[in-house]
Assembly symmetry: C2
Homo-oligomer: 767 residues x 2
C-alpha cells in the first residue's frame, strides 16, 4: 500500500487535516455520482494548487484521432476520449476583498467526509485569511438520485473574529480543459449563454460527436437560515461563462450560506431546443422540494440501495470500509436505469481508459448487479450487447470475417470499437467469450431462459461463427489452433494458443450448439425465425463442432498443467517473490519487451478459465494450476486479486484469500498501484463483492439450488450479505459459530451448505 | 505494376502529356536533391490542383509527441517527423492579368524530363490562357552539387499569338504546412524577413528542435537573353513571406526569362547570426558564375559521379532506365560528404518514415557506397554509428540492459530512438546485428582493418553485451533462446526464436570474440586501451561464448529447413500464388492480426540470414530454404526483391532473378506498391545495384580476391559496371559472349571467374 491517511470508519471515507500533496488522491477517492453524471471531489472555490478537475456526463465522449507510428489496416479511425464536462459546481468566494484559496492560506480542522450511507460529500475547515479574518466553512454536496440531472451544494461560512463582507461568486463555465489533450486542444464548442433572473446557463456542444449540453445553476443566499434578497447587479457573462456576484455582510458567529442547484441537461435525453426548458424544469422541481427535502430524499434513496446491496462485516473496520466503498462507487457509476449506459472502468472519477464498456462488465460486474438488483438490470446489461450485435458483425467484417461472425469491441461507447492498439483491439478477442459466458451465467443465476430465444442466441451464433473462423487447422499438430492473441494477461501480446482463449472458444461453440438444440426442441417457432434471420445451416454447425471437438490446448506433462500459451516454458520462471521490490510495479519500471518476455502475469489468465469453468476441473487440478501460476502473478491489474481470493478460499487458504481480499477492497483507498490520483478502479470493485460472496461465502448456483461453503477470516467476527436469487431475497450471516440463512417473506429456497441441505428461516423483512 | 506513363529512355525520366491524376506521382518521381537538400518536383507557379508540396533539408526534423493507446514504459517521448521546409522555388506568373495555373487551363506539348546524366529537372508546355493568350513555357531547375546551399531556376515564357504583359512574382515563404500534422499545427516559427535590393530572405526556426533556417532568393529578368533593369516597386513583405513583382512587356515570339537563385543556409552549418551573410555569400558565388556556368558545372559534377557509379545495360532500355534511376536517386540523397548525415528511406522525396537512419543503411546501402565511392564514404557510414555508441548504450539502459550493452535505435536522427511502436522500437533488435555485420563487410571489402581497433571493436563489444543479456536460458530446451522479437519480416511481431535474429546474435558474439583475440595478438596497446575503456574481462567473454555456443535454432526435420520462428508450422501454409489478387497488397487489404497469423512474409527473413552468411550454408541448403520461403513471400517491402534476385541468380534461376530485378529497379517508376505519390523508396535502390553486381555478376570477395560467376538475362545484350576494390577500379563487362575485366592503370588484381583465375587487362582510364 502507498498511502494510509483515510480514517477507518464503517460508513464514511474520512480525511482529516489538509495536505496539498493529497489533494488529487482525495479528489478521486471522494468522487460522487448518481449513474447519470459524476464528478471528482474538486473544491467549489478557487484553488490554485495542483488539482485534477473532472466532471463527467454518462455517455458523453469525444472521438480522438487515432495516431500510431505506422498505420495498420483495420484500425478504428477514432478512439473515445472521456471528456471533462462544463463546470457547474464553481463558487468563488471573496472575504473582505480577499479570494478564498486553500493553497494560499492557513487551514485548520480540515475534514472531508464521503458519507456512503447517505450519499453526500462534506467538507469543513477553519481558515485564517491573509487579511486577518478567521472563518469556519462547512460544505455539503450531493448528486441527486431522485432528480438525476441535478446536483446541490450548501456552502456555509461563519466569520469568527470579526464581521465580514462576503461575496459568493457562483458560476457555470463551459470553457473547461481536458487532462488528456494534445497541446491546447478544446473539446466544447460554446453555443450560447443566458440569464433569466436567478437562472443561468451555458450551452455547449462537443466537437465531432455533437453532444449538446446545457449546464445550469440557480442560487439562494441565507444568513442564519434566513433567505436573503439577491441583488445581482454585477453579473459577468460571456459565451462560455456566467458568474453571479452575491454580496452579504455577516456579523461574527453568524452563518451565511449559499445554496446552489446545478447540473446538466443533455441532448441524449431531450431534444436540443428543449434543453434550456428541461433545465428550468429540473430547477422548478428542486425549488419545490428545497435543499433539505432533497437531502432527505437522497438519504432515503441510498438507504434503499443499501438495504439490498450492503455487506456488513463485524470486527474489522478497514475491511468493512473497503467493501462499502466498493459497493458505493459501483452504485454511483451504474444503477441499471438506462440500457444505453454501461460501467466504465474509471466511472466518473477520471479520464483514463476512454470508452465505457470493457469485458469487465460481463466478467466482473454482472454477478454483482444480478445478485443485488432487480434482475431487469442484469438483463439490460445483456441487451446492451444484443443492441450492438450489428456493429459487432461490421467490426468482424473490417477484420476479414464473414457470414455474420461477430467480434465485439474491446472498448466501446456505442457499439463501435474505440480503442486502437493492434495487440488489444485486434487480438484481445477473449472478450467475445466473456460476452457469451455472461449469457450462460445470467440464465444459470436468474433461471430466465426467455432471454436466449429472444436475444441471446443470435449473439451466441455471431460469436460461435467468429471462433470457428478465427481458428485454423495446424497440420503440424493435427488439431485446430488459435494464433496471434492477447489473453486476459495483457503482459503477453500476440501469443499462440492461449489456453484461456482456446478453452473459451471451444466452450462458446459447444454452448451455442447445445442451446440451438434446446431451442429447436422446445421453442420451435423461435428456432425457425432465428435460423432464417441468421442464415444458419446444419452443415455450418457441424463445421463449428469440428473445430470445437479438435481444439488444441497446450499442456505440460512435466508440470501437469495447461500452459498459458505455447512456449511458456521457455521463459525464466523465477517467482515474483524473488523480484527486487524496487522493480515493482513492473509496468512502471520495466520496458514493455522485458515484461513480455518475462513469465509475469498481470491478472488471472489460465486461472480465469478455472474460475469461469470451475466445475470442469477437479480440486487437485485447481490446486496444481494455482500453485504454478499464482507465484508468477504480479496482480498489476485491479481485476486480479479477486479471482485469486475466491480460488484461495476454495483451496482453504483463508489467510491468502484474506490478503487478496484486502488488496482488492482497499486497492484505491490504500493506493496499491500508485495511481489513485488518476481515478478509481470501478469495475474491479464488483470483484471485491465476489471475493466475499463467492470466495468466503462460497456461494455457487447449481440448478435451482444455492450452494455455500462458508468460511470466515479469523480477523472478522461475522459478515452478512444479501442475494436476490430468482426474485427471492436471501440474507446470509456467517460467523465463527455457523451460518444463518433467512429468506424474505414465506418463500422457499433450497440452500445447500457444504453439500448438505440446511434450514432457511423465513423473515417478513430482511433488514 | 500500377502505372506505365514514364517514357523509356536510357538517361532520362520523361513524362509527356499533362494529366492531373499523375501530378503527385510525378512530383515524387522527378524529385531532385544534392545530398544537402532536396525537393519534390512541385511546380514553381501557382497550382490549385491536388499536389503534395515538399522541400527538405538534410538533418532538419521535428520531434512529434508520442501518442499511443496505453503508454508503455520506455517509449521515446518524441518521434521524428520529416519537415517540409520553407519554399524558395515559388514563382507566381501573371500574363495579361491572368494567373498561370495548369489546373485551370488548356495545356499541350507538356513534357517533363529528369535528366539523370546531367542532374537537372526540365519542364515545358504550351498553354492557352482563358484570356486568349497562347504561350510556350520552358523551365530548368537544379540543385547545385558545387554550391550545395544553392538551387537555380530558369523560367522562360514566350508569348505566341500576341504581345503580353508578363509579371513574374518570385517569392520565399516560411509559412508552409506538413502533410503529416495534427489538424492545423505548424512547425516553423517565423523570426524575421528582409529585403536588400534584389536579395530577399525569410528566417524561421523549427519549434522544439530550434533549427534556424534562412531561405533566400535573388532574381534576374531577361528578354531574349538581355538582362532587364528590375523595378521592384510593389514588393510585398510579411514576417513569413516576401514576394517580388517583376513586370515585362514581351512581343510575340520573344522570350522572357526569370532566373531565380535560391536555397537555404542552416544553423547546423553556420552560426545563427551568420545565416543571412552566408546566404549573401552563396549568391555572390552564384552570381560570379552565372546560371550557364553553374549549369555547366552541374553537368560536369554529375559526369564525375557517373564515371564511377554507372551501370550500363545494352539491349533493354527499361532495365537501363531503372538502374540509372536508382543510382541517381541514391546519389541525390547521400554523397558521403557530411558524417552527420545518413540515408533516409524516402530521401528528399516525401515525409513518410520519420528519421533518417534505419538498418537499411548497413544492410543495403553500404555495399553500394563501398564499391562506387572512395572508401572514406563507407568509413563515414560506420563512424556514424560509432559516434552514436554512447546513446545506444543509454538506449539499452532505458530498456533494462546493463554494463555497456548497446541497443542501436530502429530509427534515428541523432542517435536517439525516434520511433515509437513497441513491436518495432523494443523488439526489432536484429538491427543491432546488421550494424555489426557492416563492420565485417567493410573490413572484408576494403581490407581496412584499422577501423576495428580504432572504433569498430567498441561498437561490437556493446552489441555482443546486448545479445548476451537479451538471450535467456530455457530449461525446457536446455539451450539459450531469444524471446519476443520482430525479425526483418515485420509481418510477424513479438515472436520467439526468430532464426535470423538468433543466428545473427550468435554470429555477433563469435565475431567479436574472434576480433578481440586478433587485436590482443596483433594490436596489443589498442587491446589494453579498449579493455580498460569498456571494462571487459575474460570471464565476461566466456559468458558470451556460453550463450553463442548453446544458441537454439528452430528447425523442422520434416521440411529440412530452419524455421522462421517457433510455431511457424502451425500456420496455414497456402502459397502466395493461390491468394486472390484482390487481396494484395496485404498491408492495404488485411487487418494486422490477419497478416500476423498468416504465413506471409514481407521481406527476406530466414533468407536474409542466408544472404549475409552465404558461405556458412551449402547450395542445397539455400535451395531448400528458398523453395520453402519464397513462395510464402509477398515482397511488400521495397527491400525484398533484391535479396531474392541475388539468390535466384545464385541458384541459376535467371528468369526469376530477372523478374525480381525489374521489380526492384522499377519499383517506383512502375509504382508496384501503389504508393509512389508518397515519395520514393531510396534505401532499397542500393539493393537494385546489388541485384546486378552480386546477383547477375555474382561478385563476391574472398580474401584479397574478387570472385565472379557472371550470368546475363536473356533480354540483355550486355551490361557493365565498375567496382572500387581496395582503391583499384575494376571495370566489368558481361555479355553473352563472355566477361571482360579491365583494371585502371597498371594495377594488379586477382579475379576469379567460376572458380578459375582470369585475365584482367590494364586500362589507362576506365571510361
Amino acid at each position: 500500500m502507498n498511502q494510509n491517511y483515510i480514517i477507518p470508519d464503517e460508513w464514511s471515507i474520512i480525511e482529516e487535516g489538509f495536505d496539498r500533496e493529497r489533494v488529487m488522491s482525495s479528489e478521486s477517492l471522494f468522487s460522487i455520482g448518481n449513474g447519470a453524471m459524476g464528478q471528482r471531489a474538486n473544491f467549489e472555490e478557487t484553488y490554485t494548487g495542483e488539482t485534477f478537475q473532472g466532471s463527467y456526463i454518462a455517455g458523453v465522449y469525444y472521438p480522438d484521432k487515432t495516431k500510431v507510428g505506422w498505420w495498420k489496416n483495420g484500425y478504428p479511425e477514432y478512439f473515445a476520449k472521456v471528456l471533462n464536462a462544463p463546470n457547474w459546481i464553481g463558487i468563488d468566494v471573496e472575504i473582505n476583498g480577499e479570494i478564498l484559496d486553500l493553497s494560499q492560506i492557513e487551514i485548520s480542522n480540515f475534514r472531508r467526509e464521503l458519507n456512503m450511507k447517505e450519499g453526500w460529500l462534506g467538507r469543513n475547515f477553519n481558515a485564517k485569511l491573509k487579511n486577518g479574518i478567521e472563518i469556519e466553512v462547512n460544505i455539503i454536496r450531493f448528486l441527486s438520485l431522485d432528480l438525476d440531472e441535478l446536483g446541490a451544494i450548501k456552502y456555509e461560512i461563519k466569520p469568527i473574529n470579526n464581521s465580514a463582507k462576503i461575496i459568493f461568486k457562483p458560476y457555470v463555465h463551459s470553457g473547461v480543459t481536458n487532462r488528456d489533450a494534445n497541446w491546447e486542444e478544446t473539446f466544447w464548442e460554446p453555443i450560447i449563454s443566458g440569464i433569466e433572473q436567478g437562472f443561468a446557463f451555458v450551452q455547449a456542444r462537443t466537437f465531432k460527436t455533437g453532444f449538446n449540453v446545457v449546464t445550469f445553476m440557480e442560487n439562494t443566499v441565507f444568513i442564519n437560515d434566513e433567505k436573503q434578497e439577491i441583488i445581482s447587479s454585477e453579473n459577468s457573462q460571456t459565451e462560455t461563462k456566467i458568474q453571479f456576484k452575491h454580496e452579504v455582510e455577516v456579523n461574527p458567529n453568524e452563518t451565511t450560506s449559499l445554496v446552489k442547484f446545478g447540473g446538466y441537461t443533455v441532448s441524449t435525453n431531450h431534444s436540443e431546443n428543449e434543453l434550456v426548458n428541461a433545465a428550468k424544469n429540473v430547477l422548478v422541481q428542486a425549488n419545490e422540494l428545497g435543499f433539505e427535502k432533497l437531502f432527505q430524499n437522497q438519504k432515503e434513496a441510498w438507504a434503499k440501495i443499501w438495504e439490498m446491496a450492503d455487506i456488513s462485516i463485524e470486527g474489522d473496520v478497514k475491511a468493512q470500509q473497503g467493501i462499502r466503498f466498493n459497493i458505493f462507487q459501483l452504485n454511483q457509476t451504474y444503477l441499471g436505469k438506462d440500457a444505453r449506459l454501461n460501467i466504465g472502468p474509471k466511472g466518473f472519477t477520471g479520464e483514463k481508459y476512454g470508452g465505457s464498456t470493457y469485458w469487465d462488465t460481463e466478467a466482473y460486474c454482472l454477478p454483482f448487479y444480478m445478485a443485488t438488483k432487480n434482475q431487469e438490470v442484469a438483463r439490460n446489461l445483456l441487451a446492451y450487447r444484443y443492441n450492438h450485435l450489428e456493429k459487432a458483425i461490421e467490426n468482424g467484417q473490417k477484420l476479414g470475417f464473414k457470414n455474420g461472425a461477430a467480434l465485439y469491441p474491446m472498448v466501446t461507447m456505442n457499439g463501435e470499437e474505440c480503442h486502437n492498439e493492434w495487440e488489444i483491439t485486434f487480438e484481445e478477442i477473449h472478450r467475445n467469450g466473456a460476452i457469451a459466458f455472461a449469457i450462460f451465467n445470467y440464465v444459470r443465476f436468474t433461471g430466465d431462459f426467455s432471454y436466449v430465444p429472444e436475444k441471446g442466441l443470435e449473439v451466441l451464433i455471431g460469436i460461435a461463427r467468429f471462433w470457428h473462423q478465427r481458428a485454423n487447422f495446424s497440420k503440424d499438430k493435427n488439431q485446430f489452433v488459435i494464433l496471434g492473441v492477447t489473453g486476459p494477461n495483457e503482459y503477453e501480446n500476440n501469443i499462440n494458443n492461449n489456453f484461456y482463449t482456446n478453452y473459451l472458444a471451444k466452450w462458446c461453440i459447444d454452448y451455442t450448439v447445445e442451446l440451438i438444440e434446446k431451442i429447436e426442441n422446445e421453442f420451435h417457432s423461435d428456432f425457425n425465425q432465428i435460423f432464417d434471420k441468421t442464415n444458419l445451416s446444419k452443415s455450418e454447425i457441424s463445421e463449428w463442432k469440428n473445430v470445437a471437438d479438435n481444439m488444441y490446448f497446450p499442456y505440460s506433462e512435466e508440470h501437469g498443467v495447461y500452459l498459458q500459451q505455447d512456449g511458456f516454458l521457455d521463459k525464466d520462471l523465477t517467482p515474483v517473490a524473488k523480484l527486487d521490490k524496487a522493480e515493482r510495479p513492473l509496468n512502471q519500471k520495466w520496458s514493455w519487451d522485458r515484461i513480455l518476455r518475462s513469465p509475469y502475469i498481470k491478472q488471472a489468465d489460465t486461472l480465469q478459465g478455472f474460475y469461469f469453468f470451475e466445475d470442469n476441473f477437479t480440486y487437485e487440478e485447481l490446486e496444481k494450476h494455482f500453485n504454478f501460476y499464482e507465484p508468477l502473478t504480479v496482480h498489476e491489474s485491479s481485476l486480479s486479486p479477486c479471482v485469486h481470493s475466491i480460488q484461495a478460499a476454495k483451496l482453504g487458504r483463508m489467510e491468502q484469500a484474506y490478503e487478496f481480499y484486502l488488496r482488492t477492497s482497499r486497492l484505491d483507498l490504500d493506493d496499491y498501484n500508485k495511481e489513485v490520483e488518476e481515478g478509481l478502479h470501478i469495475t474491479s470493485m464488483a470483484g471485491t463483492w465476489m471475493s466475499i460472496v463467492e470466495g468466503f461465502g462460497g456461494m455457487r448456483v447449481k440448478g435451482d439450488q444455492l450452494h455455500f461453503t462458508p468460511q470466515i477470516p479469523k480477523e472478522w467476527k461475522s459478515y452478512s450479505f444479501n442475494v436476490n436469487f430468482r426474485n427471492k431475497i436471501l440474507k446470509v450471516n456467517v460467523s465463527h459459530e455457523g451460518t444463518e440463512f433467512n429468506l424474505e417473506g414465506n418463500e422457499n429456497l433450497e440452500v445447500i451448505v457444504n453439500g448438505k441441505s440446511t434450514e432457511v428461516k423465513p423473515l417478513i423483512k430482511t433488514i
